[in-house]
């Protein structure tokens, strides 16, 4: 899980964009805007880091626990048997870092457990393990 890297990228991008933007507006504006961008970047990276740290999951004998959130803390306990299907997705930024997201679907729309930013090998392992466990413990509806 390297969610923090994504935060770093945003800071860099923000800096570059800010510099270009500020260069067109003169020296004072340049300093102010760089400062603003830096602070925003620091804040966002701090935020992203916290978010990343809050995201935990645990495979237990009978169920999967996913916890996430900084402001609103959520913890889901999903029994393997209730799993309808597992979804692995990777967006363009995730692909850049060879990461992917594993999503668990149950019949209840509210209980969907999502684990983002997994290394590709780990997500493949998790996917296979979850499907295997889901099949052996299937309870459906």
């Amino acid at each position: 899980m390297r969610r923090a890297q994504l935060g770093l990228v945003t800071v860099l991008v923000a800096l570059v964009v800010g510099l270009i933007f500020a260069a067109a507006l003169g020296a004072l504006a340049c300093v102010v805007s760089v400062l603003v961008v830096l602070i925003a970047g620091a804040l966002s990276s701090w935020f992203v880091r916290n978010r990343y740290r809050a995201w935990r999951y645990q495979e237990r004998h009978e169920d999967l626990i996913v916890a996430r959130g900084v402001m609103v803390q959520r913890l889901s306990v999903v029994p393997y048997g209730r799993m309808q299907f597992v979804e692995v997705t990777a967006g363009p930024i995730e692909r850049l870092f060879k990461l992917s997201t594993v999503k668990l679907h149950t019949a209840a729309a509210a209980s969907d457990a999502r684990i983002p930013g997994l290394e590709n090998s780990e997500s493949a392992r998790l996917r296979d393990r979850l499907t295997e466990l889901g099949e052996s413990k299937a309870a459906g509806m």
């Binding site: 959520r74 889901s76 209840a108 729309a109």
Partner: protein
Amino acid sequence: MRSDLPGEDGWQRLHPLSPLTRVGRLVPIVVLTLVLAVGRHGSDRGQEIYIAVLGVATVIFGLVNWLVTRWKIEGDTLRIESGLLRRDSKRLPLARIQAVDVVRPLLARVLGVSELRIRLAGSSSSDGRLAYLAEATATELRERLLNGPPQPAAPGTSSPTGASLPAAPEHVMASVATGRLLGSVLLSGITVVLLLIALVLLVLAIAAPSTAAAAVGFLAVYIFSLGSGLWRQLSNQFHFEAVEAPEGIRVRRGLLQSVSETIPYGRIQAVRKIEPLLWRPLGWCRLEVDIAGASRKNQRGEGSGVARKALLPVGRHQDAWHLVDRLIGQTMPEMTAPPRRAWKKAPLSYHFLAAGHDATHAECVTGRLRKITTWVPLEKSQSIRRVQGPVQRLLGLATVHVDAAGKSTRAEFRDRAVGEADRLVEELTDLSRAAREHRTKPPIERSPDLEAAIPSGWYPDPSGRHTQRYWRDGAWTEHVSNDGGATTVDTL
């Protein structure tokens, strides 16, 4: 009719009157268009030809549709084939059926045919519809679908093979009188809106008559749609009756279009009792059940949709309690209120909030103006969640959800103390696992001698201390009620 009988390979056709019934449903629209057209232009030759061609095309389409649609039961799947150009072949596994509805629009009732709707879990596109079947065939097929293949006669019983079994006895659990239904519809939010509109118009009419006239024209559409909403509620729930049938609970309702829905007991995901603000002084409540399967309204929803069905559109607490008892068994988990400090987070709903659970069910009360009591069988729980928002963290509170299948079907243990919430998550997880593994038998078992006994229900209290006492499975229970109000506990 020949075509109604099984063909050589078991394929069956729909009822020969079905094209007529289908087309018949369009007649009012066609007539309306005609009248409008005539009213606007006077009689117009081109218009008439156009409508005649349209009518003939519809009839031909209906006939072809009837010719190419056929169905049969093959082992434990129902197969439906339809379509001339785009052949559509459906296989509905009987084990996956969530509910079966028999719908009879007005014309179909006149012609003695009915439509069968089969609900499966998941998308509505997999919904099976057979329109139309002869009434007897529809009832027979429904029983077949819900009970599985006919059982060979048990060695002990002396039922002759081939002879049709007598229809299983049905026991009416609840019905709604027309007067009360009317009252409940009139006491809904729509009426309040209508009254408000009328009030505004009245004020306007006094202050500025010309503006009022314009406003009437502008609001007419809304008033009409609100009024038709009221009418729909009334006609849909007219003559409401919930009946206990061997294969499930059966709901019959409808003024012009009669609907008979059958929900197998094991398919109920959650039961909900709703007490709107306006109904509370009268002590009325509504009872709904959730079953998996997309309803027409939320078919675009994410995940698997859930169909919400009224089990009792309006009734006294006693009736609702009786139904809940028969549906999910005796559940009286000890209810506890959240800690006092929850008042700061939920000032409006604080006095309602309560939740509890026993080994098989979770029960909880939520709602601000509408008091909602939800029961979720733990066996049906899909996941357990604990959510804590910033305000809750400040107050040391957390909410625990027990999710059942569907979009927003869940029991909420709202605003519990953190320690209790953590304990609840563990406990509910373990209990649901145990309930799943057990797969407790269906709550209602019908033994032949039970039918002779007095059916469960409210009867005058033999001890005389209370107005009524609940009778269940041949014995008095400790549940009592006074004047149709809330139920309390008092052992005999």
